[in-house]
Symmetry: C2
Subunit: 323 residues, 2 copies
């Protein structure tokens, strides 16, 4: 294992591979310096990823962990309709306690996965911090920008708006369910659980066209994340189970409550012309926003049996409790 | 202990107490939205603080931990001559494993300490993340701004420049040494170890006046942090032991190698008129920048015995190894 200083030097060299024009000064000073475009506002999001909470070393190869950690941050920027500019990595690594500490190869694989995704979206790793820690500790910060006043908030949904999702739902949770069941799964690059792709282009397109009234990324699961939109917009929602785009290998429960799909959930006015594909990604209308007073529960679901019932919030928390 | 959701709601309510005009949208969306002043660049710094690495619950009261974590980030902004705008908190808390988990009172005290300092510098807590964790895990992100092109870097020191420090050195490490020795110390608000004050006003003054050619904050200790300036500026340095402002209770070794004083170390041209106090804080000239080729080691120190010797890097790492 490299010393902290050697690791910082190593990361500093690697970070040059994913240079963003926006980063004026990256690793090597007290703070990074980032230049925003004139007339743009700053977006900032932080996401904490901890071993045995958000990932397991026995399940998730190191590059997938790096990729997944950064996806969480990029997906938050996508959900605002923003453009990511730079990322920051606070990394805690076990030194003592384990038989030999954490293998250097794990750290290298983690960085490779993270920086490969950063490179794809032209996001520079511009700073961070390193410490010894009891468990692998990753805090990813992403800074992005959006034209002033144009960010798509959670709070803009209005009664009558239609509800849409990108891609398909439940695929990540389906893989997780198999992992919990003890099945060995090859972590292919195309696997939505191991290598989810943040919907940056879709989010930016929706913001540019002014189509979305509210947006959130599906990190905790549809039932939880749609409830966030309802809470912030002070509305309720009605969704149609038969309309949900369910991933191959998943089912309705996983599509409703499984987390970590990193698709976008957004609302648009009834008469808005929302294409069936945006930036190559399928878009599906799944329901409608209603007045808050319409129902006692925030979300109602029309089941495949033709009956409407309140949708309880499940989502990611559900899996955590099972551990 | 509150649930994660309750804790986020609690923090969201508290964060309103330290509102910054720059924060357009704080806690409650996928990302925070921050508005920079026209013509300014963004500064970002992240600092990871872990229980039993950066603090101990038996030594450091919860409000002091919150204060110290935020000071680390604010001090990084100060060292660029910047103005802090917003902070972000990624917080990992033990739920299982401990007899009863972490007491709610600890979390409340931590937040009180952090938000009290945030309020003092008009920095809004604008976002973050929460997770279960094996040890108390705090990652503090501070976003700030500086007029474009005017940040004071580590890399601007030139041969002939004089070296200055604010305040006095070694005070924090002297307290830490006593804590290691098993002494009980009352964590008074005026204590530089428990409640260090970031030198925001001094850093901003130096940047405005264009006096400092390079600057860094003293987090790791003078010997380590001055070496960072030498490395980034490709120069060497010569300091005079008898000139060092040593804190009450400290000695030369602690002033040279003790960390966490959060004073500013800066360089200024030979003929610059650097006042003996800036924003009420004492400023002391302690040495001079030389050509890199002058000496084999980066830093030489003129001792009180009249002899010049190379200064090995000690600093904070030294204390960590002793644990």
């Amino acid at each position: 294992m490299r010393s902290e200083r050697e690791l910082i030097r190593h990361i500093r060299r690697l970070s040059g591979n994913a240079k963003s024009r926006a980063v004026v000064r990256g690793i090597g000073d007290d703070s990074a310096i980032v230049s925003l475009s004139p007339g743009f506002q700053l977006l900032v999001t932080t996401d904490l990823c901890l071993e045995n909470v958000h990932f397991r070393r026995g399940w998730h190869p190191a590059p997938a962990v790096g990729h997944r950690c950064l996806t969480r941050g990029l997906s938050d920027i996508a959900a605002m309709g923003g453009e990511p500019l730079a990322c920051f990595l606070s990394l805690g690594l076990p030194r003592d306690g384990l038989p030999k500490g954490l293998p250097q190869a794990w750290v290298d694989g983690f960085l490779r996965g993270l920086l490969s995704l950063a490179h794809r979206f032209k996001v520079q790793l511009a700073g961070g911090d390193i410490s010894a820690a009891r468990q692998i500790t990753v805090d990813i910060v992403v800074a992005g920008q959006v034209p002033a006043g144009k960010a798509v908030l959670r709070s803009g949904a209005r009664p009558g708006d239609r509800i849409y999702v990108t891609g398909s739902l439940g695929g990540s949770a389906a893989v997780l369910q198999q992992l919990y069941a003890g099945k060995k799964i090859k972590p292919a690059r195309s696997n939505a659980h191991f290598y989810p792709v943040p919907r940056i282009e879709v989010g930016a397109w929706l913001r540019k066209k002014g189509l979305a009234t509210a947006m959130i990324d599906l990190s905790d699961g549809l039932s939880v994340d749609l409830a966030h939109i309802c809470e912030e917009s002070r509305v309720s929602a009605w969704i149609n189970a038969s309309r949900l785009p369910i991933s191959k290998g998943a089912d309705l429960q996983l599509a409703l409550h499984g987390g970590e799909d990193y698709e976008l959930l957004f609302t648009a006015p009834k008469n808005a012309r929302v294409p069936s594909r945006i930036a190559g990604i399928k878009v599906t209308e799944i329901g409608v926003i209603r007045n808050q007073s319409d129902y006692s529960a925030a979300i109602q679901i029309l089941g495949e049996n033709g009956k409407v019932r309140p949708l309880a919030q499940g989502g990611w928390e559900h899996f955590k409790r099972q551990r």
